[in-house]
């Protein structure tokens, strides 16, 4: 479960040494940096840029390399997420069941576009490519919840 921390990570109380000790447990693991970034994502919903020097230090690589890894993967974001994230599947199986129209309807319902968020920061819409629910599409993920045969109503209900 994602622990959504609202506070600004860059100003949060954890000292550099606290951060070091949080990350050292990943160092000896295969794919340690991926584990560490996934942990930050789970814990805070994003990777705050203020962690980058510590990550570079702990894994003994350059900050550029850390940024390179973060920017490669869709899941690692440098910006805090909105209160709710709606991921709408854009892939073929869902397209065949009206995902293009569903996307337009959800965009209209929440007044924002795919890849953007509402001005009150309540909802952001994201594209996702396959949730593995292709036999019961179109599929949407709202925060941690999977929704099959999604409609604009079922999606907005799951937020309320």
């Amino acid at each position: 479960m994602l622990k959504r921390v609202r506070e600004d990570q860059s100003k949060s109380g954890s000292s550099p040494s606290d951060r070091h000790s949080e990350l050292t447990r990943f160092v000896d693991r295969v794919g340690g940096l991926m584990h560490a970034l996934n942990w930050l994502k789970e814990e805070y919903g994003y990777v705050d840029a203020s962690w980058i020097p510590t990550l570079a230090d702990v894994f003994n690589i350059s900050q550029a390399e850390v940024r390179g890894v973060i920017s490669f993967y869709h899941d690692f974001k440098l910006k805090p997420p909105a209160v709710h994230t709606i991921k709408i599947c854009q892939a073929e199986a869902c397209q065949s069941l009206g995902a293009r129209q569903l996307t337009k309807d959800i965009e209209a319902k929440f007044g924002t576009n795919l890849g953007s968020r509402t001005s009150d920061n309540r909802v952001e819409l994201e594209a996702i490519y396959c949730l593995g629910l292709c036999a019961v599409g179109p599929s949407v993920q709202v925060d941690d919840r999977l929704i099959a045969r999604a409609t604009p109503d079922s999606v907005s209900l799951s937020i309320e």
Binding site: F76, E92, A93
Partner: protein, 507 residues
């Protein structure tokens, strides 16, 4: 009397958790089982007696059905254990539905039938751990299992290469980065029978001399992660993993690493880079991973279904396995039918059945009730088939003959409202989004292709642009390092060639 409720991503996405919650408020603690793969009937609730015999079944269950389920459970409980089924409110029982009974399940034999975390018998594994590893590899050769992830490369060649390459450390890596739209067999296996995968990995490790296994799981599959984590925990407690597997001299560990939403990490060299904690960028082959893979060590990379097929091969015997299917397409394949289809789900069959059979006999036509116009087979890099090709048998050879591929076994059905020009444009767009950026044809060709098509409306693409598209396709096909750029031309060309009326004005 026990109450079983299916618990996989299909069931959860269709509301099984609310049903389970409602049952609990009635004091009933349901047993969670995997899905049988009849996705359109989920969530499924079954009443079984203490001998595990099916008494009654409910499909497409919602919270409103809970009082009726509770009532039936109470009345059957009063009647005792041995009585025949009292009533069956389901439209058709899942386990007696022809969609299920006509299948030939080897990989998915336990899925749905047994609770996913129930420890199966490991007599087979114990016997195999007593055999000479070379004998197991010889068995793999006899079976002629081909990689189920997409490439269809004979598995034993990789096994033998890893086994024959001297090294102080070897690895087995399970590719669980199932990113193709229209595929979900890996997910269903991990959620429905995770021990099958663990068993397959142990056999592969023993045969090749690898002592460390990794499962690279995509982040879009949180339910699979839940089941894998718990199954691995049980496996360690039961000494199925760790030092001296089942008291043999062989030791084997498995660790899970979660991906981060990059489709390209399904490509093996990219996956290994990601597993090392780096950008998932493609690497030039050779050397192949079987010689120099993870940390430059010999690494056996297989997808989930390839590894999960291994126990079944030795269960029925490699010769018997090779008898299934057609020619060099041996054994069974868990096909997945999805998209605009009435009865979507998992269909495990020997190779050789036709697309028609899957779409009409199993899938029962479109969900919309409109005519089927095309089927895309093999994921986003797979071909769009025209109706005249639907009688093609599903074998590696027959599919290659029509310029298509089975890929990971996904068939996505589209009705006659589909616009193939839009689909071709999307194929380029998907390549643009997911390209790792290493090769120019893939990185830039995809953008160019999308833009070229986008400037025209459907049925109105000018002839010169189609020439440009074809040239782009040729460059992408020939000059990309991996299949991402190399195979994007397949959906594009098949759309243009088989459905020209969606691109150019009719003459």
């Amino acid at each position: 009397m026990n109450l079983h409720i299916s618990d996989d991503s299909f069931a959860r996405a269709l509301g099984s958790e609310s049903v389970e919650f409602a049952l609990k408020t009635h004091g009933i603690e349901p047993i969670r089982t995997g899905s049988f793969g009849l996705a359109w009937l989920e969530p499924v609730v079954q009443i079984r007696n203490s001998d595990h015999r099916l008494i009654s079944e409910f499909t497409k269950v919602s919270v409103e059905d809970v009082p009726a389920i509770v009532e039936l459970l109470n009345s059957t409980q009063k009647q005792g254990n041995g009585d025949p089924p009292t009533s069956n409110p389901a439209e058709l029982s899942v386990s007696s539905h022809p969609f299920y009974t006509k299948q030939h399940r080897l990989v998915f034999d336990r899925a749905g039938v047994c609770p996913p975390l129930q420890l199966p018998s490991f007599t087979l594994l114990e016997n195999l751990l007593d055999q000479d590893p070379n004998q197991i590899i010889a068995g793999m050769e006899t079976s002629w299992l081909r990689g189920r992830g997409g490439a269809g490369f004979p598995a034993f060649i990789k096994w033998r290469t890893v086994a024959d390459t001297p090294a102080d450390q070897k690895y087995v890596v399970c590719n669980a980065d199932e990113g193709d739209s229209g595929t979900f067999s890996d997910r269903m296996l991990m959620e429905g029978d995770p021990f099958k995968l663990i068993e397959g990995m142990i056999i592969a490790g023993y045969a090749t001399g690898a002592t460390q296994g990794f499962i690279y799981l995509r982040s879009e599959y949180p339910v699979a992660k839940e089941y894998l984590d718990r199954a691995l925990e049980i496996a360690y407690t039961e000494k199925l993993l760790g030092k001296n597997v089942l008291n043999s001299n062989f030791s084997f560990d498995i660790e899970v690493l979660i991906g981060a939403g990059a489709y390209i990490c399904g490509e093996e060299t990219s996956l290994l880079e990601s597993l090392e904690g780096k950008r998932g960028q493609i690497k030039v082959k050779p050397p192949v991973p079987a010689i120099a893979g993870l940390f430059e060590k010999p690494t056996l990379v297989h997808n989930v279904i390839s590894l999960a097929a291994v126990p079944g091969i030795f269960e029925i015997g490699p010769e018997a396995y090779a008898q299934l299917g057609v020619g060099k397409s041996t054994g069974t394949m868990p096909f997945q039918i999805s998209g605009n289809v009435k009865q979507g789900g998992l269909i495990e069959l020997p190779f050789g059945h036709t697309v028609n059979e899957l779409v009409y006999n199993y899938g029962s036509g479109t969900a919309s009730g409109r005519p089927v116009r095309t089927v895309q087979i093999g994921g986003p890099l797979g071909a769009y088939l025209s109706e005249s090709e639907f009688d093609t048998p599903l074998t590696y050879e027959a599919m290659a003959e029509i310029g298509a591929g089975i890929g990971h076994g996904g068939l996505v059905v589209f009705d006659d409202t589909v616009n193939l020009k839009e689909q071709a444009e999307y194929a380029f767009e998907f390549c643009e989004i997911e390209s790792c950026g290493k090769c120019t044809p893939c990185r830039i060709g995809s953008v160019r292709g999308k833009e070229a098509l986008r400037q025209f409306s459907s049925n109105n693409v000018d002839a010169r642009t189609l020439v440009v598209i074809e040239e782009l396709c040729e460059v992408m096909e020939k000059a990309s390092l991996c299949q991402m750029g190399g195979m994007t031309p397949i959906p594009v060309r098949s759309a243009i060639q088989k459905f020209p009326e969606d691109f150019i004005p009719e003459q």
